[in-house]
């Protein structure tokens, strides 16, 4: 069955969420939001999904701080972060490159990443762009630290890194990414060529699961409809856009 690249990404991320109780998603993250909604659908509604900035799925009533307090209370199981730079130790940079504070290229800022990365058990890094400019040996500014010394209070951290080309798992003990699966149409050689940090890869790389018929029906049915009011442009252009090339 043909599928769109983002349908594969949504399905792949959703499979990392199955069984969790509460998944929170930042406002401008359509793929994570889609994945969380898909996982909730598959849980029969047992999973709680909080989409920040969305009136309907935003359960918070105690101001901007509640998300952070809630995470520190241990009531959020998974969250998503991106990074203008991500390095091999899973450090992320959302601040800027080429100098600080006078950065030649400045990004918006760290938002809540510096905090949530340490407190939410399963943080999934998502960056569509998989190039050596994004996946670097060492970030120029650590917005949020991928790993911490053993005496640092830390109840959470990086779980996986999902890109347009593949999925890495993060091995916290070794502070190192491990290639878990390569999306159909991509290969390890290509991934090595476009990844600026070192990572481990098995002899034989697995292929990322293609979304099955039932999953696609959910994405193209209730999930797409639920997403339409927050991400109208994304739904129209991507989730109703071109299919992936057939391989």
């Amino acid at each position: 069955m043909t599928f769109r690249p983002d349908e594969l990404l949504i399905a792949a991320v959703a499979s990392m969420l199955d069984g969790l109780q509460h998944v929170a998603v930042g406002a401008s993250s359509p793929v994570p939001a889609g994945a969380a909604l898909l996982a909730r659908e598959r849980s029969g509604g047992a999973m709680r999904v909080s989409i920040l900035g969305r009136q309907r799925d935003n359960p918070f009533t105690d101001g901007g701080r509640e998300l952070f307090d809630c995470a520190a209370q241990g009531r959020i199981d998974a969250f998503f972060l991106g990074g203008a730079q991500i390095d091999g130790c899973a450090n992320i940079n959302l601040v800027g490159v080429e100098g600080y504070p006078k950065s030649r290229v400045r990004f918006p800022g760290s938002f809540g990443s510096s905090y949530l990365y340490l407190l939410i058990p399963r943080v999934i890094l998502f960056t569509r762009t998989h190039t050596r400019r994004v996946l670097v040996p060492r970030v120029e500014f650590v917005s949020a630290a991928g790993t911490s010394p053993p005496n640092v209070y830390r109840t959470g951290g990086p779980y996986a890194l999902v890109t347009e080309r593949c999925i890495f798992h993060f091995d916290r003990a070794r502070s190192r990414f491990v290639l878990r699966s390569v999306h159909p149409g991509h290969d390890v050689e290509e991934i090595r060529a476009h990844t600026g940090f070192e990572f481990d890869a098995p002899e034989e790389a697995e292929t990322t699961d293609i979304p099955d018929r039932a999953t696609l029906a959910l994405i193209r049915g209730p999930i797409r409809e639920e997403m339409r009011d927050v991400y109208p442009k994304y739904v129209a252009e991507v989730l109703e856009g071109a299919f992936a090339r057939a391989d």
Binding site: G64, S103, S143, N151
Partner: protein, 276 residues
């Protein structure tokens, strides 16, 4: 506020002296854009902006207009529209001093001011370069445990909190709904200035449905009525952002000339419908 007379936008702007620290919300939370434009018009100088906890168009306009000395924030962004062009440029030029923070550190600093305590402990954040660049932050050993490093962020007490809300009353009570970061900012700040869509005669504190989302007049210095006062950003539950205008802004603000032109004429002049 205890007077029953609503103030003018200019009267509010006049209460923001040059050099003041000014707490502002992000674009989705309730922005008093009319006062921001009045400050630019006045040529305000050396403002120290504090994002609650991040900033958007308000900051980009004030920075571009040269009103800003420092910015303490978790981010500056126009959201879906893209990066904040004047902010990005000011950083590159070293024209403003940036105090990078993270959302919960700003909330915690405001909470410390709200509680009248010198600092607030905060989990997370350790290992972030934010700490390296914030000499005012301290990492101590948790006195209730051993070998447990803990970040302390100092209280953030803004001179002024400024925001826009859907509703206020003639007594100076201001309804902020679930946008309680506005209430926190007002508790933390020395003075609070508010613009609102509508001023009602009813006492909001006397209505059990409105009271829980109401900032009491006790904390409010001035309220001015400003219908559509968040434009061109949106106001939750009332109106969406004017995406067309914001995209126009992002385009124009990518050059100095375009930015000056936008300041001069934020609303696009009405054009005749194209002939067919």
């Amino acid at each position: 506020m205890s007077g029953l007379q609503a103030d003018s936008i200019d009267a509010l702007a006049a209460q923001v002296p040059d050099g003041a620290s000014l707490a502002l919300p992000p674009d989705y939370s309730g922005c008093a854009m009319t006062v921001v434009r009045a400050l630019i018009h006045r040529g305000a100088r050396d403002l120290n902006l504090i994002g609650v906890p991040q900033l958007g168009l308000q900051a980009d306009l004030l920075i571009g207009a040269g009103c800003v000395a420092t910015v303490e924030t978790a981010a500056v962004t126009l959201g879906e529209i893209g990066p904040a062009p004047r902010f990005t440029r000011a950083i590159r030029a070293g024209a403003i001093r940036i105090r990078d923070s993270t959302c919960p550190a700003i909330h915690a600093g405001l909470q410390a001011a709200e509680k009248g305590i010198p600092f607030m402990p905060l989990r997370g954040v350790l290992g972030s370069d934010l700490i390296t660049h914030r000499p005012g932050w301290k990492v101590i050993d948790n006195p209730f445990a051993s070998d447990d490093p803990l970040l302390l962020v100092p209280a953030i007490r803004p001179d002024i909190a400024l925001f826009h809300t859907p509703l206020a009353d003639v007594h100076g009570n201001v309804w902020v709904g679930v946008r309680r970061e506005l209430m926190l900012a007002a508790h933390a700040a020395r003075h609070t200035l508010v613009t609102t869509e509508r001023i009602t005669q009813e006492n909001l504190l006397a209505d059990e449905r409105y009271a829980p989302g109401t900032l009491p007049a006790l904390y409010v210095s001035s309220v001015a009525e400003a219908p559509n006062g968040a434009w061109p950003v949106g106001l939750w539950g009332r109106y969406p952002p004017d995406i067309g205008n914001l995209e126009r802004y992002a385009r124009m603000a990518s050059t100095d000339e375009g930015f000056a032109l936008y300041l001069d004429q934020p609303r696009e002049p009405a054009e005749p419908a194209p002939a067919r």
